[in-house]
Symmetry: none
Subunit: 229 residues, 2 copies
DNA sequence: TTACCTGTTAACTATCTTTTAACCAATGTT
DNA sequence: AACATTGGTTAAAAGATAGTTAACAGGTAA
């Protein structure tokens, strides 16, 4: 699984915030939703998001102030304001604070998404969607179905088997660091999970043993490389 | 094109209302969005909607009052309450006012859509028409009649049995996630409904045990796959 | 009321997945 | 070569998930 793009959403209306977040997640983003500017600033520093959506009117630290603070640290991250006011004055104030765009409430999700895409594209961070099946020698792997099917067999993978194999398929012929695999498939990296991964590598190798020319190669001390013919 | 299904949405929070409407329209519904109960009542009479989504807290005429008024005129139209309060008292009051379901804010659009679909299906107003019978081995399943009939037997399914089996029949050979089944058949996804589903799976399996080659396969940790020969 | 019928909850059991542990093999370093 | 580190393999332990049966609650009909 490719690393998701992180959005920082600062919106004090909880219900609205939830539903915006829900829609954005549905669209494939990772969303950090903060109810006020103070928390948003905290999470900004902690999570290092790729794009910010800031409500202008928030308790504890309004959108303008927050934007200025973020701009001080990072002068390329796209900052989009969400606001109910259509005052020209506010708009100017917003751009002065470092905003890249200014979206009026109420907005449609379609509109929000397309504006987000514009800025991500500008920053070369477009999401590329994953193919829904991979050919591995004579075997076909369909992640959505947890299925690995060859001419003489068909088997259903478990969750981890599938996620791991999918990650390998997404990066053929590349050396994948143990750490990166762990972070992507397990979400964190510690010693025991590393050993767990070793077990799963053994399993995947068994599953793919039939396929000549396919290999999960060990790069000692570094990680693995998955090669298909 | 088939005539769109009309939803009456009464929501006083304009921003939230707009985005809910946007999502519902995206899903193919026609939506009438009213900011208060007074207007909602007006539009109810004028537009004759197929389903109502009412916010409980509204100026000029609260959701309960409105629901009662609508129920007086029409005792079949599905009425779903949207509310931030989780008070049991409110819930009872809601059902007493004639509500069919009670959706807590914040909710995900996925959940809202599923619950709407459940009630539309129940009222035979589904958007996409489904085949009116399925052949499962030597057995014939007629959803509209809740009937499962084979050479040597004929039995009447209950509502949930029928909805569940119908959902399975609509997606043969696909891995259906537990969550999706729950959202489609029950309208929401929580732990206990999940256990309820397990019970129904057992029942369906018993009903179909006669049929060799038919199986409801468990994909552990994910969901189920229904396969016919 | 009583007697069902349906769907949910509960309790117990069975099964499957993942992690942990133990031991061994390979690699790299001194 | 001796040692330490890293990874491979297998099996058992732990944990999570699902199957099954029965009791229960709420509603409906006789």
């Amino acid at each position: 699984m490719q690393k998701k793009i992180k959005l920082l959403l600062a919106e004090d209306d909880l219900q609205l915030g939830f539903i915006i977040r829900d829609n954005l997640e549905e669209a494939g983003f990772e969303v950090i939703n903060c109810p006020d500017g103070e928390q948003a600033w905290e999470y900004y520093q902690k999570k290092d998001p790729d794009l910010c959506l800031l409500d202008v009117n928030m308790p504890y630290k309004d959108g303008f102030t927050l934007a200025r603070k973020i701009r001080q640290k990072n002068d390329v991250i796209p900052i989009l304001f969400l606001t109910a006011k259509s005052l020209e004055e506010d708009k100017l104030k917003g751009f002065a604070a470092g905003a890249d765009d200014y979206i009026l409430k109420p907005f449609s999700m379609k509109e929000l998404l397309s504006r987000i895409q514009v800025f991500l594209r500008r920053n070369k961070m477009l999401i590329k969607e994953a193919p829904d099946s991979y050919r591995i020698g004579n075997t076909v792997f369909v992640p959505a179905e947890f299925k690995l099917a060859g001419p003489d067999r068909e088997l259903t993978l478990t969750l981890r088997e599938k996620e791991l194999l999918e990650f390998l398929c997404q990066h053929p012929d590349k050396v994948l660091k143990r750490e990166d695999i762990l972070l992507h498939v397990w979400g964190k990296n510690d010693f025991f999970l590393g050993r767990s991964m070793d077990v799963f590598m053994t399993r995947l190798r068994k599953h793919l043993a039939i396929e000549a020319g396919i290999s999960i190669e060990t790069i000692h001390g570094i990680g693995y490389r998955f090669t298909t013919v």
